[in-house]
Subunit: 146 residues, 2 copies
């Protein structure tokens, strides 16, 4: 199968410069900005009505990957697809953020876990179908809060 | 900013060969398989414990994009980032599926809206933090159920 190319459509602005600086417990409260490049601004029409956005970005500080990893809050080896580890075969991240405000090509958002300078490749509206009920979280049960 | 490359890690198997054949209303019930290529199978360890997975894939039938589109169930022009249109600057799709069963490198799943042969680039576990409360869906209000 052939490879595919991604071109950044924007960039994250955060007060955190390194992944290890982000306070994991407060992630949901961290505010920042998504700057959509001017050439893509027309694609933001009507986005203001949505409370939550799916942000797809490149884990640009990730170098290489392991198919099995030991997550930070665990001491067993897990398959990378059963984790949110940044060291994945394709270094693609996905985070759902709350949209606080849009000013032209700048989206002010809450709940970012990306660092300053992260390349953004897509923004999608979060829809009711993305809220799943009765979820089971395997090895993470009891290890993370809601 | 530089471009990034994606390499498929798997492929979707669905009984639908064309996007227009997928019955939108029954999307949530459609079952299919994600075949993860053998070289990535080790990354699936522990995935069985999760009830829902985030599948990131390439909208490989999408050719080109428009920053503003008229969605199928609407008659106004919307910004592409306020829609789930497949004709996006980066043709990346994201769907949350229910994991029914894993057999080696094959994940049997429910809720697919991808067609046969869709290249898969990442699988992530769906976590409680991905369930958002009090969501607002702008121009889609009253146009979709759930």
């Amino acid at each position: 199968m052939k490879n595919f190319k991604l071109k950044p459509i924007g960039i994250i602005h955060s007060s955190y410069k390194k992944p290890e600086d982000i306070p994991k417990e407060e992630r949901k409260l961290i505010e920042g900005e998504i700057e959509i490049f001017k050439e893509f601004e027309d694609g933001l029409k009507d986005i203001d009505g949505f409370s939550h956005l799916i942000v797809i970005f490149v884990l640009h500080k990730s170098c290489g990957y392991n198919l099995q990893v030991t997550p930070p809050f665990d001491n067993e080896i897990r398959g990378v697809f059963a984790t949110r580890s940044p060291y994945r075969p394709n270094p693609i991240g996905m985070t759902i953020v709350e949209l606080l405000e849009r000013k032209e090509n700048i989206l002010r958002v809450k709940g970012i876990d990306m660092i300053e300078g992260t390349p953004v490749v897509d923004i999608k509206p979060y829809l009711p179908g993305d809220r799943k009920e009765n979820i089971k979280i395997g090895w993470l049960t009891g290890k993370i809060e809601d």
